[in-house]
């Protein structure tokens, strides 16, 4: 096996499979998932359409007909891809490291941009200044992107500001809103309903359909926030 962590592979229907390292949020496992994501992207396995990293799993979506017809034999496409995954993991070995991009994101933590910051302050018995300090001093890993185009699940936030999701989600959260849910922090790339506790907003476009790379963040990125004033936000 030669994998850093034990795994199992299961079908995700007839056109995809998941390489799974267990049902848990663990930074060591996630780092390995992101490492393998890099390895498999570079390998460009024939017939694979998409590779999707998540907290503790990596899923592969593939073209069954193309695989069955070109590689042929008695194997199912599921078996063909599974074997290639096992082989690649064994070759990669447990010690492979990955490239990390560093991204800085400006956030305004005041006024209308931070509708839940007072709730967090009250709930966790921590001043607003301290919330900002604690949120901006850590470097967060993008564990995965899902839910919306460009919605990056990042973590882990300091225990001092861990708060659960809102019991009743908002019908509409503005694009750029920065939130916390449990140990995760994230940014809404588009206006959408949402249940995360909002402590700030970024003027940066996390999702821009006009760009060649429409999503600013990628799985594995190292993200750090920095505080800006309302004026700076308006003039960004």
């Amino acid at each position: 096996m030669n994998s850093r962590f034990p795994y199992h592979i299961f079908p995700l229907g007839d056109s995809a499979l998941t390489l799974d390292f267990g049902n848990k949020i663990d930074t060591g496992i996630n780092d390995y998932v992101l490492t393998l994501f890099d390895v498999f992207k570079n390998k460009a396995l024939y017939g694979v359409l998409d590779i999707v990293p998540a907290y503790s799993s990596l899923s592969f979506h593939y073209n069954v007909a193309v695989l069955r017809k070109t590689i042929g034999g008695d194997l199912t496409a599921f078996e063909i891809i599974s074997r290639q995954i096992e082989k690649t993991i064994a070759e990669a070995g447990p010690a492979t490291s990955r490239r990390k991009r560093n991204i800085s994101i400006p956030v305004c933590y005041s006024g209308e941009f931070a509708p839940d910051i007072e709730f967090i302050s009250f709930e966790k018995n921590i001043s607003i200044e301290k919330i900002i300090q604690v949120h901006t001093e850590r470097i967060y890993t993008v564990y995965m992107i899902g839910f919306l185009p460009g919605f990056a699940y990042m973590g882990e936030v300091n225990e001092a500001i861990v708060v659960p999701r809102k019991s009743e989600p908002r019908a509409s959260v503005p694009a750029g809103s920065v939130g916390i849910a449990g140990k995760q922090t994230g940014i809404y790339p588009l206006q959408s309903p949402g249940g995360w506790q909002l402590l700030g907003r970024t003027p940066v476009k996390i999702f821009d359909k006009q760009k060649r790379d429409p999503v600013l963040l990628q799985p594995g990125d190292q993200v750090q926030f920095y505080s800006i004033s309302e004026d700076e936000f308006k003039n960004y």
Partner: protein, 327 residues
């Protein structure tokens, strides 16, 4: 000026067979709900199976063709008329200049696909013409078609002196849509989370497609199912056809506009070929699940692929002959 939407339908969008390569960024493939019918419409015109076309729901649009072309409808039967003449599904038909295509009533199915001999002049977004409604990108400016929208044809070699008076139907057709309410599915990773009694219900009961059903997902209504354990599932990938267990014991089947990841237990995954049947079912219809093995599901997909390829090749030659004869 090539085709104009005289009156928009309830939800018409440009789709192809999906936008691949971006799921890791949360950009799901979208694409035609009924993959088979979309490919069939294209195949019958000898076109590339993945070519962009129009997906329509009922009430469907009224379309004016300002230029002549050959069209083909596939999937649901909305009782199509071209200039007051009935045209069937699954059989190509000639459309003369200034013809009007309208749809009279819902006979059968839920989504109807309109493919044209001419390719549509649609700018791709991330290498696909499928409409991503949430991102407001792809397809026709990232939105459904509205009244007065004008879609251009890409220029192509097409001359025909056929007028409105000749029989518009071309001489070949495909068998009608077969909708199977027993949906083939693959066991999901969290199938074992279900209590034995709930597993029995899943396999033996029928479930109704509720009114809360659309391109994102079909919410089902039926016997409440229970998970034996209290575990929360960490978010991970899902696919078109994934059957999730919701906290209230009901289920949702993810459809073409599904999110890329989810945190609800995955009980099963509807197979690719069975999804085409599901996409043609309307709210209040009932479905049942039937587990099959991965190899069987793959074989079904392969069989469908071979059929479509052969059909496309045959029709490409037939269309060329037809055009040559009409010059």
């Amino acid at each position: 000026m090539s085709l104009r939407i005289i009156k928009a339908g309830i939800f018409d969008t440009i789709q192809d067979t999906g936008r691949f390569g971006y799921r890791h960024l949360g950009i799901n493939p979208t694409g035609a709900m009924d993959n088979l019918s979309a490919k069939l419409a294209n195949a019958l015109l000898g076109k590339r199976l993945e070519a962009a076309l129009i997906e329509m729901h009922f009430p469907a649009p009224v379309i004016l063709f300002q230029k002549p072309t050959i069209a083909c409808l596939a999937g649901a039967d909305f009782s199509a008329m071209v200039n007051n003449q009935e045209v069937p599904v699954h059989q190509p038909f000639f459309v003369a200049e200034n013809s009007v295509l309208r749809f009279e009533r819902l006979m059968h199915g839920a989504r109807c696909y309109l493919s044209l001999f001419h390719d549509l002049q649609i700018d791709n977004w991330l290498q696909s013409a499928s409409t991503h409604i949430k991102a407001e990108a792809g397809g026709w400016n990232g939105r459904r078609l509205k009244t007065e929208d004008v879609i251009l044809f890409r220029p192509t070699r097409f001359t025909s002196n056929r007028g409105k008076k000749t029989n518009p139907l071309l001489s070949w057709k495909a068998a009608p849509l077969k909708i199977n309410k027993h949906l083939d599915c693959i066991k999901g990773n969290e199938w074992a989370w279900l209590e034995a009694a709930s597993q029995h219900s899943f396999k033996n009961s029928s479930f109704q497609i509720s009114n809360l059903s659309d391109r994102m997902g079909y919410q089902l209504y039926g016997e409440q199912l229970r998970a034996g354990k209290d575990e929360q599932l960490v978010s991970s990938a899902v696919d078109f056809g994934t059957v999730q267990l919701l906290p209230n014991g009901q289920m949702i089947i993810l459809m073409a506009d599904h999110q890329t990841t989810g945190g609800y237990p995955r009980l099963a995954h509807i197979t690719s070929t069975a999804l085409s049947s599901l996409a043609q079912l309307n709210p209040n219809e009932a479905i049942q699940f039937r587990f099959i093995e991965v190899w069987e599901a793959e074989d079904n997909l392969l069989q469908q692929y071979n059929y479509l390829q052969q059909l496309q090749n045959a029709c490409k030659l037939k269309i060329e002959k037809y055009l040559h004869a009409s010059m």
